[in-house]
Subunit: 462 residues, 2 copies
């Protein structure tokens, strides 16, 4: 059980034209990383994600909910957005069989389907509600603050539908809230009505919450081995004790991306798994990296590399042309799975047709590996930085390690960039404008600010 990063193709020596991170830069980053490591360590009390893998009480509380609901529900409907949705979706894609929700009960080993409502498009919500048997549906309402407008709107609609389907009293037995232990609307409702809840620790932000009940409850309901997930994450946390990036994978990832951005102008940072089950982990990473590092400093300067999700080999036929020939402003980090050379033997046929004859006898696993290595080599030959995260398998242990590695790397990167990786002040203005338009009490100042925007009369339109 190992996770390692090969970053040879980030470094001078593998790249032409004097490009690449130099040994001097890499070794010189040692003290910057040690300071970042110490800064993260000093904030431990505020960074609850560091201790989630060891939080047995939280996991026990989660598993108690799973045990209590076993066999009663065919469908789980998760209401949540952003960090409340991306983690559960990524875990379903990575650790459950393909197209989980299309499988029958036996193929799902008796576990429920999982539907994630992560938007407020009316067509989506009304369609899902019209299809679910609500008397056999468990609804998880997931919001750190307990007041997220999209999630509250979903909740009001779903709660109403539940009450009509099973009655007001029984509706409560179809609800679990996952929210702050003390504050917020969901907590108030839970207290008043006796609705079961699981806690998101106060020091765990939404995008760092996948190993809290936010991710672990839906995962465990679907039968994912959450203890193995935690063990993988704990292993990565232990490796992160080192303040030498050469011995701390999360540190190495953070330092390399930061050097590539700030010293080499590589500010678009692609995460490109070569394994279908890992595709949604790239989307989870996009939120983590973008929302944590995209910040305006007090002095008015802007930070924030732009993360980009891709998938190999598929995107070799979509985005790779740009990565190869477009501006030298990107890094590409692959994620690969070792030892798949025997999987998916390709039969021989059409021996008289050259485009097919050479393929027979290989395997799909080997083809995927060859394509990844060829792409990495061609990127390097063109001066494009790339690296490869290697896993022994796509299983709960390795996924836990991978998620915790990115969470740790994000915390380190925040310190390296000199910004707060744990807030998101940039979304407040838009949120307040929306509150003002919806008439939320207390949003008068936002209304005035909205009215003061230019709002040009002469619209440009074609």
């Amino acid at each position: 059980m190992t996770l390692s990063i090969d970053f040879t193709n980030m470094m001078a020596g593998a790249l032409p034209d004097g490009l690449g991170i130099t040994e001097t830069e890499w070794r010189g980053s040692r003290s910057a990383f040690a300071a970042a490591h110490a800064a993260v360590d000093a904030q431990r009390a505020n960074l609850g994600f560091l201790t989630l893998p060891a939080d047995e009480a939280a996991l026990d509380a989660t598993l108690a909910v799973v045990a209590r609901t076993r066999g009663r529900f065919d469908d789980v409907l998760l209401l949540g957005i952003g960090g409340s949705a991306l983690g559960p979706i990524a875990l379903r894609t990575a650790l459950r069989p393909l197209a989980w929700n299309t499988l029958d009960l036996a193929a799902r080993d008796g576990h429920p389907r999982l539907h994630v409502l992560d938007n407020v498009d009316p067509a989506t919500i009304l369609t899902i509600l019209s299809r679910l048997a609500l008397d056999r549906t468990l609804v998880l309402v997931v919001s750190k603050s307990g007041g997220t407008v999209e999630t509250m709107a979903q909740y009001l609609i779903v709660r109403d539908a539940l009450a009509r389907a099973v009655g007001e009293d029984a509706a409560r037995e179809h609800l679990v809230f996952v929210t702050d232990p003390e504050v917020g609307a969901l907590r108030r409702i839970a207290r008043a009505e006796g609705i079961p809840t699981l806690d998101i620790p106060q020091n765990v932000g939404g995008r760092f919450s996948v190993l809290s009940p936010v991710g672990m409850l839906p995962a465990a309901l679907m039968g994912i081995d959450v203890k193995a997930l935690m063990a993988g994450a704990a292993d990565m946390t232990a490796r992160a004790a080192s303040d030498d990036p050469a011995h701390n994978p999360a540190g190495a990832f953070a330092v390399l991306q930061w050097l590539a951005d700030t010293r080499h102008g590589r500010h678009v940072q692609v995460l490109m798994p070569y394994a279908d089950p890992l595709r949604d982990i790239a989307l989870w990473f996009v939120q983590l990296w973008a929302e944590s590092l995209g910040k305006t400093r007090k002095d008015g300067t802007f930070t924030g590399p732009t993360p980009l999700a891709a998938l190999g080999a598929t995107d070799q036929h979509s985005q790779v042309q740009l990565f190869m020939e477009g501006p030298r402003d990107k890094t590409v980090t692959f994620i690969t799975v070792r030892g798949r050379e025997a999987e998916g033997r390709i039969p021989s046929r059409h021996a008289d047709i050259p485009e097919l004859a050479y393929i027979g006898g290989h395997t799909l696993g080997a083809l995927l590996d060859v394509e990844r290595r060829a792409t990495a080599g061609a990127l390097a030959a063109r001066g494009r930085f790339n690296a490869n995260i290697e896993l022994d398998a796509v299983d709960a242990w390795h996924v836990g390690a991978l998620l915790q590695m990115f969470a740790l790397a994000t915390a380190y990167a925040g310190a390296l960039y000199g910004i707060n990786a744990f807030d998101q002040p940039g979304v407040e203005m838009g949120k307040n404008f929306a509150y003002a338009m919806l008439g939320k009490p207390g949003s008068e100042a936002a209304r005035a600010a909205w009215d003061a925007l230019p709002h040009p009369d002469a619209r440009h339109r074609v």
Copy 2:
């Protein structure tokens, strides 16, 4: 039936600090666009996508295949990658009910499910094959060149499985090839074995092929109104007769993004529909824009904005923090659907809880619209360029118009950047390295080039 673009928030006047495209730049682009328009016009014979909406013979051939196979198949399995997959996926998401493949036959109006195999991950392919009833499955093999290695590998495996399931002779009746009219491996096999084929015109490249049988065959099999798609695309093509970007939506989109990139450093270009059904059109656009414009010029300079797919309101909780506060290097183009204010009434409940009381009585449609406008206003207030493509509805006509608009815009943008938007030379090196490693005859030069890469002995690894 209208599609329009409001680009007020791209322009000086709506943005602070002297930011935004000036009237002088916009008016001054008129001659550059006229030249680009003329250049595209001069290439008409090579740009088959311009005439696809009027190609009744191609559509008739497609509909004949649909008529001949009606009722015989419950599942369609499409083998293809890149442009052969992204269009069909986008059409299914946009124009069929949510989660089409989970619906039963009646809910699908008798039409088949559609599975798109767009990668060579062995786990995915073997899992799909183990679940399909191959005697009721139609397999579409889609490749412009007719020799794409990923698609050929899929084909060899699926053909073998078909032959085992239904016998060698009957297997042919489960196959349709969509490929070049003359050349390539698929064409040779089709000729030799009498397998039905549909043509991708020689002057239509893969990423411009959605309105050819590549997209129209799977769409029509699923019951999508392909004639309305063509009519919408034809309408957009007619509007593109104007060489004034103020009267040509595709021209306006191309000019604005090009000015934003080359004059204002806005080289990350986000497409962010606020409508769930349009989410995969953003992924289709990413391929089109990235692969067409990401090029190295003969003088060694690099071009190519980086397209980014997002989804509103969901990504307000993921990427929008970066768009708001990160570097001022982005444009954001929303896609919205008019007139949804009555959809999804939110019931009132918990009147004593302020976070919920103000939401009841609104609708989800209004919430989505308010959130989009608030985000647009906040982005503009922070100097971030944004625009809004407005549709009257998500239906075949508007989707046809939207797809054709982006295809036209891409052709114009190629001319504005001074590059060939219709090739993809940057992927050849990686492809040839893969051929060399797989032992394809004729790849000896690639093998030598591969061996000549640095391949440092001392790997950097953590």
